[in-house]
Symmetry: C2
Subunit: 239 residues, 2 copies
DNA sequence: GCAAAAGTGTTATCTCTACACCCATGC
DNA sequence: GCATGGGTGTAGAGATAACACTTTTGC
């Protein structure tokens, strides 16, 4: 590495993705089955190496587009980096993990990578403790747990939940995001009052839909506010 | 890189530190004056390259001990990673930034690195917008801003403020941490009620001190709770 | 005594929660 | 009509903000 001290150890930089969505009202994570060693045959988080001239953020955007075909309608943020020297048996690989949230039932894995390589891709259900039924490769279980925890925490005080919804959504759809991600049942009436009362949180579209059944519900878009004050409080765990 | 695809680009991994403390009741950040190119003579965040067999976390701990001489009595957490390919003119250097909080008036920079190399080290005042009067090297202004914002946000719902205090501290000292970090003046009476009423937040030591003047104040240690519910709310910005 | 900081009491106001209740649709 | 989900009203509990007031020290 020219210009740098001799002692500097070179590492490979990977961008991995925790892509969360709702399938049938419950939280799922995007996983790919590994086709090569190490951890051949195991589920892993999608990701890949950062390329020349690319930031980790850009690499994550590229991977996300490759895996899901989704473009702009996804929320993407950096999660954390994982640099344990033993985390990858092939050598020194540092992963910059990212958290992505995609709308419910968008981009079904069946349709994914139609023209790409033939790796198996699936939405795996996420359990209450933020893990999957089958073990994940590398330290991806840890990364997934961190990602789920971040998503859960950010729902409280941010407009993040709308990232799980279509562009136009009803208050009920938004509430079901909270129910699914937190594993709770919020009171529909109080939730409605709270989110419609928070300034800048929801932009009324003016039209209604009956796609959820029952009485027609007003449609909203995400408002300009990115933080939510007062926050939506997660019900306390029963002692 | 054996075992990895040929196309993988090697990068150097750095661990940088946003070390915050209170000096005379206002927020300061630890900075070192660069003795070499690039950015020679400029202030920069302390940090260094991650060594063989070391994680970024361990490198940050090592750097922190080297710079401040402080050991365990510091809070240290990962902040974020910065991987813009142009962020370091010497080549591809990815920084895993960490946030450290050290007790007020501990480890004065004059006493630092007594036996180490002669680089100038100082506590620079942090302005309300999370920057310093003099420009910082590399993208360190951005990193500092992110670190300050993280610290401000975490005070609301975590026990982080105690990391700025000595092991045993008074409620008034804790409140002055909030005042300094948020740039506000919280009501001493309501603050007292709130923090002493939050279960698990403060452990009473049983003794008192008059080091802050006035009536003797009870001493506390950090309690077992790491999150604070209900949170201490930051007063809204005037419109 | 006086200043300073700690700590307690009080009250109006706001917020939250748990409901009762009505509304507008599909079937 | 009936089920389903949307939306409004309301009362009690609890949290908050503002401030009067007492306590205990140093000087």
């Amino acid at each position: 590495m020219p210009g740098l001290p001799d002692a500097v150890v070179p590492v490979a930089l990977a961008a991995d993705l925790v892509v969360l969505t709702l399938v049938d009202g419950s939280l799922h994570v995007l996983a790919v089955r590994r086709a090569e060693a190490p951890f051949i045959g195991r589920w892993a988080l999608p990701g890949g190496f950062v390329r020349e001239g690319e930031s980790a953020q850009r690499a994550a955007e590229r991977e996300l587009a490759e895996e899901t075909g989704l473009g702009s309608r996804v929320h993407l943020e950096q999660l954390a980096s994982y640099s344990d020297p033993a985390r990858d048996p092939r050598g020194r690989v540092v992963s910059v993990a990212h958290l992505a949230l995609v709308p419910a039932d968008d981009a079904p894995p069946e349709a994914m990578r139609a023209g790409g390589d033939a790796a198996e891709v699936a939405w795996l259900p996420v359990t209450d403790d933020g893990s999957t039924a089958e073990p994940l490769a590398f330290d991806h279980a840890r990364i997934l747990r961190d990602g789920v925890e971040r998503a859960r925490a950010k729902l409280e005080y941010s407009a993040l939940a709308a990232a799980f919804c279509e562009e136009e959504f009803t208050v009920g759809e938004l509430r079901r995001v909270y129910d699914a991600v937190w594993g709770v049942r919020l009171d529909a009436r109080n939730f409605h009052r709270k989110v419609t009362g928070a300034r800048g949180f929801l932009d009324p579209v003016g039209t209604t839909t009956t796609r959820d059944g029952g009485r027609p519900a007003a449609l909203f878009r995400r408002g300009p506010a990115s933080t939510l004050n007062p926050p939506i409080t997660r019900p306390p765990e029963p002692d």
